[in-house]
Symmetry: C2
DNA sequence: CCGTGTGATATAGAAAAGTAGATCAAATGA
DNA sequence: TCATTTGATCTACTTTTCTATATCACACGG
């Protein structure tokens, strides 16, 4: 099932997650069955332009045909426009350090647990709430303990760590705002996919 | 047959014409039947993303999902990148004046002949050859004679006029270059579509 | 006027998308 | 522990693309 359009599927999924919508919610917005959205995100269908378009619109995205040679410039613009929300410098720096650690860990020895960890980290950086640098520092320390011990146990502990943090943040965010108010687009994560 | 994707169809057609490819030639490049390309350009199908993608690639275009709020900036980039080829200032000015005339004519009284005229004008500005300002001036004079007389006869004479000019240019161009050498992308015309 | 190239159209059939709807295991929160 | 929500995955059915191929009217140049 390769249609040469894998990046589109990934892009849609990333955009949906950045908006913190479930597939069913997006389904309602776009008028497309949840089962179909699942297939689309997993690149299991060669979808029609109308489907792509309606889903994209529900995610505040626009389908465009751009000249090859304009690609770099455009990608740069997209990056700058859909970057992470206001966040203070210390927090951003802490996030960057964590990402480095995780990437290092991943390149050293890839495993399902580490993939999981990477996903969690990405999720966290997409949460609109202001992140507490102290908490992030704690996360980093956990990561560093993994580096020294190298045990899979430690990785799983870190994942658990981050997951509960994420849940806290998500909860805090949803209780502060209108249940499903459209939020601005946050980091779309395609710049650290590979 | 409205799929909310009319602009894509128009874009593909414009891109193909800017490259001076026939539907059959594009068909060969993209691996899609000419009959299908015709339907696509006429917005008679809700095509699949893989089809759109392969045709786009054959035309040096890339399919992208861009954030709504990045649209203006991106469109500006696209315009600047896919602008008309080197052409001297006098010629460009003459072309602009002709376009104005035709637009005025079109808004005054629309007819099939005038639509035809508009298309011809657009075609001419896409031809890679250097246009002779003198010839263009002659075209404008013809247009002005239409303005005063208002006869449909005159319009048709102008169309004939321009058509032969176009054929001359096309012929000159194709005899100068490798039969179907890939040419740089010229003006994509979507900025004066409506 | 005649041959060629153009885009639009038709036919028939194979392949796939798309629909509504149910179910499932896993994660989560209470 | 229990109910809910998540995404993935089925079924059965309809609709449509897409392909290959041929034909059409028309514009064009020789």
């Amino acid at each position: 099932m390769s249609y040469g359009t894998e990046h589109l599927a990934a892009r849609l999924k990333a955009a949906r997650e950045a908006k913190r919508l479930s597939q069913r919610e997006l389904s309602a917005l776009a008028g497309v069955p949840q089962s179909h959205i699942s297939k689309i995100e997993n690149n299991a269908v060669d979808l029609r332009v109308s489907s792509l378009s309606s889903i994209a619109h529900a995610l505040d995205l626009e389908l465009m045909l751009v000249p090859r040679k304009a690609l770099p410039a455009i990608q740069s613009i997209v990056r700058s426009v859909s970057s992470a929300p206001v966040i203070n410098a210390a927090t951003q720096r802490e996030i960057d350090r964590i990402r480095e650690k995780v990437d290092a860990l991943a390149s050293h020895a890839s495993s399902a647990s580490i993939d999981n960890l990477q996903r969690r980290i990405r999720e966290i950086t997409q949460i609109p709430s202001q992140l507490d640098p102290d908490i992030l520092q704690k996360v980093r320390r956990t990561l560093e303990s993994i580096e020294s011990s190298g045990s899979n146990e430690a990785v799983n502990r870190a994942v658990e760590n981050i997951r509960s943090l994420r849940n806290q943040l998500a909860h805090r965010a949803s209780s502060q705002e209108t249940p499903r108010a459209p939020r601005p687009a946050y980091r779309l994560e395609e710049d650290q996919d590979g």
